[in-house]
Symmetry: C2
Subunit: 240 residues, 2 copies
DNA sequence: GGTTGTGAAGGATTTCACAGCG
DNA sequence: CGCTGTGAAATCCTTCACAACC
């Protein structure tokens, strides 16, 4: 009950709220409300308020939320007000697409190194960075602090590549490979290794998304229903 | 209580189980168990059995599951034993990366059309397909049946592009843009339009994953804990 | 003996109603 | 008077224990 009482879904929603606030800010909207955010994020207003309440009190009763203020607070909560040094492991087609994707450079995410095991790629220059051999990652992290590793290798190499990242001291992995990274060095081992203990892995899985979509397109009735509180809190449940 | 009682998380896990079964089949492993699947998928064996039970009885008591049989059943459940005609809306860098990503062509997902509104791209040939103008999608669907649309346009065009897909009769959208697609034609409208009623949207969101990773790397204590039932069902809670 | 399939218990998340405050 | 913040209720999902069966 002590730690670990913030639902992971809440974190995903915070990212969504932040995105909405950025859009509002661009449109010079200065104020918003839990109802407005809820509608745009496709959740209930209760949910918005509860999610925010996990991290503090950011609104003004009777008034709502100030867009720039709430945006700043959410960025702080999510850790987006600092710089993040990122290496990409695997610079084939996928890794290069990631390196070139615009938007990652917002929020001070910066690519500081590109690594691969393919001799044809090592030495090549991509986006101003020279591709280095994966074996040199460990030495690299001695001179350059690296916070996150983006894993874009073929699925059969993903576990090994992840181990290379962890061995180099990297504690956050964004896994693009369609496979599950096991938090242990040796497949048989049951207890996670000490250094794996602190590693966070997030998955971005195109193929899985495709398959989920196939299922829900075939079975629309099993689709989770989007909440539709008519604009207001659904006070006046019925007239009485 | 009748429909809509299968957790969405269960569907994601089925995709994972299927992937594990494919790996096992490649390694000529013919049998598995809920314990084995659980360990590989990083869930509990209870969870595996419950997830499968939503869709049928696929195992043999005392024996476990037959890999090819369970694989076939999961493919059927997920709708992966039929062909899916896909169009890509938006063939900039991201859309082209998607078109070239290997693995999508498994399971009979096939790209039948590429669409964009950029005159520089329209007419170009990519992977054997000629890029067409988005305005021609509707006519296109009259001659070629299209099941799914992959949305890879810049976020500010995503809502419009989604509407084009839906207007053309497409009922499944895989959204790669970092934005939420509203299931309605006009922003103000509260009731989803008739045709949007049946549309399924799945999101594949690289930037959101990056931000969630930042949060959990900064707050490892809030990370959801992976279940670790020692290999067996955790019978013998303690010796007694 | 071993492993699945499942109703029931337990826990976690979401929904709610309203107190609290500008 | 309006909208947030929040303990309590309701719901949903996961875990469990064990019956069923090979």
């Amino acid at each position: 009950m002590s730690s670990q009482d913030i639902p992971t879904a809440a974190i995903s929603r915070l990212v969504t709220y932040l995105r909405i606030l950025e859009t509002l800010e661009q449109q010079d909207v200065s104020r918003t409300s839990s109802n407005d955010l809820a509608e745009r994020a496709q959740v209930t207003a209760f949910q918005v308020r509860k999610d925010l309440a996990y991290f503090g009190r950011f609104g003004t009763r009777g008034m709502g939320y100030t867009v720039p203020l709430l945006k700043r607070e959410l960025m702080r909560v999510l850790g987006l007000n600092r710089t993040w040094n990122v290496v990409i492991m695997g610079v084939g087609r996928l890794g290069q697409a990631i390196a070139n994707y615009p938007g990652a450079s917002d929020y001070q995410f910066g690519y500081v190194g590109l690594f691969d095991i393919n001799p044809d790629l090592v030495g090549q220059n991509i986006r101003g960075l020279t591709v280095q051999h994966a074996d040199d990652l460990r030495t690299f992290t001695h001179t350059t602090p690296v916070d996150l590793g983006f894993l874009a290798v073929p699925p059969e190499h993903a576990q090994n590549a992840a181990q290379t990242l962890v061995a180099a001291g990297i504690r956050g992995i964004l896994n693009f490979a369609p496979t599950i990274i096991q938090p242990r060095t040796h497949p048989g081992t049951t207890d996670p290794t000490e250094e794996w203990q602190q590693v966070s892995v997030e998955n971005v899985d195109f193929l899985a998304g495709m398959k989920r979509l196939a299922f829900y397109t075939l079975n629309p009735s099993l689709r989770p229903t989007e909440p539709t509180p008519s604009t207001t809190d659904l006070t006046h449940p019925l007239e009485e």
